[in-house]
């Protein structure tokens, strides 16, 4: 079905270092192949070769031959490739052309010029196969990340190509949506589609994938059947820089250190959207101060609203946060908490890393700023423009400005979405570092590994209410794992 022989590629601008060198790979019809490896190893580049974006959209130096169903992709115009290969991308925010779900599903078929009746039949089939009836007739901008990704899969399903390429599709998904995604992929497999997935999170594909292709520095280093892959020991996976293939072996890291008896007291944590729909209904809650607290729950459980309320970003919010017998009203919360956003591009404003840190200080103090940069391994970048840095470096700049603001509460929104093992560990070390500085750290996350590595306390939200809230050491492992593994498929 797909045949790559001696393919090498180098991006034209050279900034994206993740080129490919001498790739030879053949994939049979009906196979599900998992591409994995550290960030920058070339998995995304490989997917772009298959869907034709290379060389037609991203230009560069390409050699070798890429055949799909016996035809050379690099010589075929993109619109022709699009009838054979469907793609799902990482960012659910930026892969929709229309603004409503129905037209979105029709879009690919409309471009192929199929008849209107046929398109409608196909859409109905997609709706019943993927169980997305409740998502029809909706505005794309009102959907959650998981729902958007479902629609993205639906678009591919409607166009019904033989080959489907997914590039880190689960990065922004909660456990429930990830589960649904794995069902969709299994469905494609049952229809004898050829599926290629580039991914960091492997566990949800454990029982679906046929083959695991491990890449490093633009080369294929290992090809394993899934049975062999499952037999890899934890430390072998670790050495390859891969996330675990199953979650049930994870246990919380032993943390020494005393529990801090001081508390962050939250009261009046109720919030409704303008539509009147209740988003948060907590009332009062005590969280331990000076610890790393994980907030878990599915999309729509109120996690983001909770974080926004803590930061004082919801204008109508009436609740209070009490730390050290000092009570902060909503407005004062703005000066008490700092959120490192999921998309850090939104919160970096200045022209140089050093300025960025100074901007957060009440009085500019270059020495102190340098010390903070040093502690986060950013000192050598201080002159550079924040936007020229890599994703991980940008995140560290945002963290540096959080530290510089001297706020007690630092909130992270999905700090490890789409990160490989090495970068995830890097982030978890920084989180611990922040805790050692005496900060209270709150992490909103779907990443069980990160929780196991860092968190001492877990707050589980469900339908806007507290489902459970306790120290990890008091929780049974099964209870925590249960949330991540025993998700019922929704819809």
């Amino acid at each position: 079905m797909i045949k790559l022989s001696n393919v090498s590629f180098q991006y034209e601008n050279g900034i994206q270092s993740s080129g490919l060198a001498d790739i030879t790979l053949s994939i049979e019809r009906g196979e599900v192949v998992l591409l994995c490896g550290e960030s920058g190893c070339g998995k995304t580049t490989l997917t772009r070769l298959i869907n034709g974006l290379i060389p037609h959209y991203y230009s560069g130096k390409l050699s070798g031959e890429i055949l799909i169903k016996g035809k050379n992709v690099s010589k075929m115009p993109l619109h022709e490739t699009s009838t054979h290969v469907g793609s799902v991308f990482q960012n659910p925010r930026s892969q929709f052309y229309c603004m409503d779900t129905n037209s979105e599903l029709a879009f690919g078929c409309e471009n192929q010029g199929l008849s209107a009746n046929e398109i409608i039949d196909r859409i109905e089939l997609t709706v019943s196969h993927l169980k997305i009836k409740e998502l029809m007739n909706r505005n794309i901008f009102n959907l959650s990340g998981g729902e958007k990704q479902k629609i993205a899969c639906g678009c591919v399903h409607t166009a019904s190509p033989d080959i489907i390429v997914l590039d880190e599709p689960s990065s922004n998904l909660d456990p429930q949506a990830t589960k649904t995604l794995s069902h969709i992929i299994a469905h494609w497999k049952s229809e004898d589609k050829t599926v290629v997935i580039a991914e960091h999170r492997l566990h949800y594909l454990r029982d679906i994938a046929d083959r695991l292709v491990f890449m490093r520095n633009g080369r294929i280093e290992k090809e394993l059947s899934m049975t062999d892959a499952q037999n890899l020991k934890t430390d072998e996976l670790f050495a390859m820089g891969l996330r675990p293939l199953s979650l049930d072996t994870l246990t919380p890291e032993k943390k020494c250190g005393l529990l801090n008896p001081e508390k962050i007291e939250l009261s009046g944590f109720n919030y409704s959207y303008r539509s009147g729909q209740k988003a948060l209904d907590i009332g009062s809650l005590n969280l331990p101060k000076g610890h790393i607290i994980g907030v878990i729950g599915n999309n729509g459980a109120g996690k983001s609203t909770f974080a926004r309320c803590l930061c004082g970003l919801n204008k109508q919010f009436k609740g209070e946060v009490r730390v050290d017998s000092r009570t902060c009203s909503n407005k004062e919360c703005l000066e008490n908490a700092y959120m490192v956003m999921q998309d850090v591009n939104h919160q970096l404003f200045t022209e140089a890393v050093l300025d960025e840190v100074m901007l957060s200080m009440n009085e500019e103090n270059p020495e102190k700023a340098n010390a903070i940069l040093e502690s986060l391994n950013l000192l050598h970048l201080q002159e550079l423009h924040p936007m020229s840095l890599s994703g991980g470096q940008k995140q560290r700049v945002a963290i540096a400005s959080a530290v510089a603001s001297e706020r007690e509460l630092i909130i992270f929104d999905e700090p490890t979405s789409g990160l490989d093992l090495r970068h995830m560990i890097q982030v978890s070390e920084i989180l611990k570092q922040l805790k050692d500085m005496g900060k209270s750290v709150i992490i909103i996350t779907h990443d069980l590994e990160l929780i196991m590595r860092t968190c001492e306390y877990v707050l589980h939200l469900k339908n806007g209410k507290v489902h459970s809230s306790d120290y990890i050491r008091n929780m049974s492992n099964d209870k925590l794992l249960g949330f991540f593994m025993n998700q019922k498929e929704c819809g």
């Binding site: 869907n51 034709g52 974006l53 959209y57 993109l78 619109h79 022709e80 490739t81 699009s82 290969v85 469907g86 793609s87 991308f89 960012n91 925010r93 930026s94 892969q95 929709f96 052309y97 229309c98 603004m99 409503d100 129905n102 037209s103 029709a106 879009f107 690919g108 078929c109 409309e110 471009n111 192929q112 010029g113 199929l114 209107a116 398109i119 409608i120 859409i123 109905e124 007739n137 505005n139 901008f141 678009c155 166009a159 004082g312 970003l313 703005l334 000066e335 700092y338 956003m341 998309d343 591009n345 939104h346 919160q347 970096l348 404003f349 200045t350 901007l359 957060s360 936007m387 603001s405």
Partner: protein
């Protein structure tokens, strides 16, 4: 149609017009707003979008903007000619902005909230415009909500970091920069990813596109075409004089 799958409107609470009618109205309103001084034409231009909102039962918007337009028109007609002072210059500027930009903005808002991208593309193709115009315009169309979304996240980040007007950190110029630079960067990135996705779904294929959504003229379109044509005629007459 089966199950009514394809009968989508971005916001169903509004009355429906064909996208071509809406584009035509928007065009004429904007031309008249910037070329004429006759208050009759301006009033008519404002009345068209207002009547659309009224027919859609958006009474608050209708009443609010009617009051705004009427008072600013009255001020424009009676104050400007009788007095001449610094105050009247300010009033003239203010009413000028409201009278000239208001109707167009209101119509633009109506167009954006009631038209889906696919309807827009269908309309453009029925007018036989080439792909080179249709595709960029439809992308622009789609980008407004994205800009709104991105801009509100940036606004949150600014509030959280305590950057706002009036504080030592915020000169007006710096504030503009802080707001616009991240916005541009986000939009460029989203635009790039968007084109990738659209291309892998066959946009730009030489095959004749199907349009599943149905657009077509109704008696309402006829009425509004007539109204707009009257505006256009008035415009031409006043220009001639």
């Amino acid at each position: 149609m089966q199950d009514g799958y394809m009968q989508v409107l971005a916001d169903k609470s509004y009355i429906k017009l064909d996208p071509r009618t809406k584009i035509f109205i928007l065009l004429i309103i904007n031309i008249s707003a910037f070329t004429v001084n006759a208050w009759q034409v301006i009033a008519l231009a404002a009345a068209i979008p207002l009547s659309l909102f009224a027919l859609s039962k958006k009474y608050y918007i209708t009443a609010g903007f009617s009051a705004l337009f009427v008072s600013s028109l009255l001020l424009y007609i009676f104050l400007i000619d009788t007095t001449f002072s610094a105050v009247s210059i300010i009033v003239a500027m203010l009413t000028g902005v409201i009278n000239r930009m208001g109707p167009g903005l209101l119509m633009g808002y109506y167009l954006l909230t009631t038209t889906t991208v696919s309807e827009f593309i269908a309309a453009m193709e029925k007018m036989c415009l080439p792909k080179q115009i249709t595709i960029p315009l439809s992308v622009m169309f789609r980008f407004f909500p994205t800009i709104k979304e991105e801009s509100s996240s940036i606004n949150d980040a600014m509030r959280m970091r305590g950057i706002s007007f009036g504080k030592s950190k915020g000169s007006l110029l710096a504030l503009m920069e802080y707001r616009l630079v991240p916005l541009f960067i986000s939009c460029v990135k989203i635009g790039e990813e968007l084109s990738c996705s659209a291309l892998t779904r066959g946009l730009g294929s030489p095959v004749k596109r199907t349009n599943v959504c149905e657009i077509g003229f109704s008696y309402r379109d006829l009425v509004y075409f007539a109204l707009t044509a009257v505006t256009l005629m008035l415009l031409l007459i006043t220009k001639r004089i």
